[in-house]
């Protein structure tokens, strides 16, 4: 707690009703630290370890942006945000980037005055049921009791899906994922529904994962991505292209292992431009020319981050699926760096 700031604030209260200033980049540079809004704890996506070091799929985005802007992936202040506080924290200027598995929707992008800069994970809502229930498709869930987190998009998706298929269900409202697991295991509900990534992690943590199955139907689109404040396009560009740099790096085969080698210069002009060997891409967004190199070095390219945090070699074991490169049949498609 900086006391001088405290007193300055006390005297300034009531004098000025300020609006968060437009030049986020200057603020971040002056502060020497990126304020990154993250989840208060979600397996694989954002979690602090026993020593308080944050890691995870969403956290990697924070690190990459900090590395691109400040040259050091450690210069991040992680601001844990809840489902209720996340968007307001962003609009009020408490955080510079929100990287908290938030679904990109029309109203959030327009009405809430956020700018989603891209998608780092394509998720969708699924169902998990006990195997002995004998259900193999979500279409057979007519009349089932379903555990559902209140106040989320999943609740609305569920209602839509059952209405569209002319089925009925009985919702059991739960508050958190931990409570949902508990209720589901205690038999309070036949099925548990949330994002498929969450279901996979939940099932993997069960004592008897083989007795539970995740139904094949994905009933909603949940494009999750980092968001910034509306109205600061320069800052939005930086976050957007940092994300694309990670995705493009995977496409071009730039990894944290070979990046030092490649940044000496390659035959591929696109890689050269990406890593700042050729061209002046960094200057165009107000950063040093090795911004993308720093971003990729922070925790590797998109594929490396995925594999290290939520991929098939981790206990969560998510397959790439929609999140594969466009060349592999997925949806990841970074625009050209030129």
């Amino acid at each position: 707690m900086t006391k001088s700031v405290f007193f300055g604030t006390l005297t300034a209260v009531g004098l000025a009703a300020g609006i968060a200033s437009a030049a986020t980049l200057d603020d971040v540079k002056a502060r020497g630290e990126l304020n990154c809004g993250v989840n208060t704890g979600l397996v694989g996506f954002a979690a602090p370890d026993a020593n308080g070091n944050w890691s995870g799929f969403d956290v990697a985005v924070c690190k990459a942006v900090a590395a691109a802007v400040l040259g050091d992936p450690a210069k991040v202040k992680y601001v844990p945000t809840t489902g209720q506080t996340r968007f307001t924290a962003l609009s009020s200027g408490e955080i510079d980037v929100l990287s908290r598995n938030s679904t990109w929707t029309f109203s959030r992008d327009t009405d809430l005055k956020l700018d989603f800069v891209g998608v780092n994970y394509y998720d969708g809502q699924g169902f998990m049921v006990r195997k002995d229930l004998g259900v193999t498709s979500a279409k057979e869930l007519d009349g089932a009791t379903i555990c559902i987190q209140t106040g989320t998009t999943t609740e609305l998706n569920l209602a839509d899906y059952f209405k569209a298929n002319n089925m009925s269900y009985q919702p059991i409202a739960i508050d958190t994922n931990a409570e949902g697991e508990q209720q589901y295991l205690a038999g309070a509900c036949d099925a548990y529904t949330t994002d498929a990534s969450g279901l996979a992690a939940t099932r993997a943590a069960f004592a008897d994962p083989e007795n539970h199955i995740i139904l094949p139907e994905i009933i909603s689109k949940e494009p999750l991505g980092p968001a910034v404040r509306h109205g600061d396009s320069e800052w939005g560009d930086i976050v957007r292209w940092t994300l694309y740099a990670l995705i493009a790096a995977e496409e071009y085969g730039v990894t944290s292992a070979n990046i030092d080698e490649l940044s000496k210069g390659t035959d591929n002009p696109e890689i050269n431009r990406l890593l700042g060997v050729e061209g002046e891409l960094g200057a165009m967004i107000g950063l040093s020319n090795d911004w993308a190199k720093n971003a990729i070095k922070a925790s590797g390219n998109y594929g490396e981050i995925f594999a290290a945090t939520i991929g098939e070699s981790t206990p969560i074991g998510l397959a790439r699926g929609l999140n594969a490169q466009w060349t592999q049949g997925g949806l990841l498609y970074a625009p050209p760096f030129r």
Partner: protein
Amino acid sequence: MSDTHAQTVAYVRDTMLPEQPAPATEAGAIKWLRENLFSGPLNTFLTIAGVLVVYAMVSHYFAWFAHSVWNANSLAECRTIITERWGEGATGACWSVIRERWHQYLFGFYPPELYWRPILVFVLLFVALAPVLFQGFARQLLLFSVFYPFLAIWLLWGGSIWPEVMIILGAVAGYVAFRVIEPRGDTLAIICGILVTILFWAWLSGPLSGMIQSVLPFRITPVSSEKFGGFLLAVTLGVGGIVMSLPLGIMLALGRQSDMFLIKTLSVCFIEFIRGVPLITLLFVASLLLNYFLPPGTNFDIILRVMILVTLFAAAYIAEVIRGGLAALPRGQYEAADALGLDYWKAQRLIILPQALKISIPGIVSTFIGMFKDTTLVVFVGLFDPLKGISDFVRADFAWKGIYWEPYIFVGAIFFLFNFSMSRYSMYLENKLKRDHR
């Protein structure tokens, strides 16, 4: 008839009968059972029902507690150990999560090499509280109690010590101003004193502390507020709130009883507004709304924001509790104070408040206990409270995903320790102050 006795009666006992033990139904355990557990059909029924409930719970949960695992690195490992030791299908408690993460439940992300600082602050808290709570301590210790908050803030957040010294100096400067102007009128002196203090804090303290710091550097590693979590956060908020809300609550209670229209209206509005709004709303105001009103770039410490609003919240409730105490005093006490020629403040200080506060003790302590427990609500503004905030991210580590009851039991037990001691202290205080004149 006087001489008939010895001759006419064949046998006279000349020794006392030895005492017989009381009948089995009127002594010892059986009597206690009869009187306390089986004194009538209804009580007999309730006793049996109670025993059944206890039996059901113990039989249900005993195995879970008995099968406790302390040494494991993940929930999966716990499960393997339990299956190995107690066979397939056995359930057990996995306390190893507490063993691995206890420090986060107590300190949040506070740097481990600096744990001695919060521990020292916690120990000193009792030293500072002792002369306030108990008689028989040297009065000089009270001086320590006065300076303790500044010491605690400095130790907890670290950094340079001079800003804290400046706060104290500001208060001293205000007091000096008050004494200098006092002969010219009380009200003027109070206003001047407050003004001098505020001016000192606003303009002089910053540059002055910077200057002294450059000459006499005296600082310890700073720790920022987002590192606070767990019980460190709960106790900081709780103690801070309690210490500040009691005086504020007393002022509000007196304000509400005041004859002065403006003061009375303001107090009533404040109390009714705060009591009419849920604490969660105030916390959201602290965390989100304030940022809109502050000039851009300022970073008003989140713990300070929350503490201020928790204090205001508790103060409104305490004001009403104390008002109840004031209302319970017989009118004669007020009149007696007037008759003695005491002015308002002296009458309050010497006659009214000591009695009113004594009556209000149970209510005040209840408010404090409630407030201490309410500090867990800060989880909704993204702070790591011990109950849910810490548990959420502990569960976000895949090793502990799926753990449910153990953290709750651990945190609940610590909360119980705190709150039960508070409640016992209030009973002790009531007994000590009992005058039996009613």
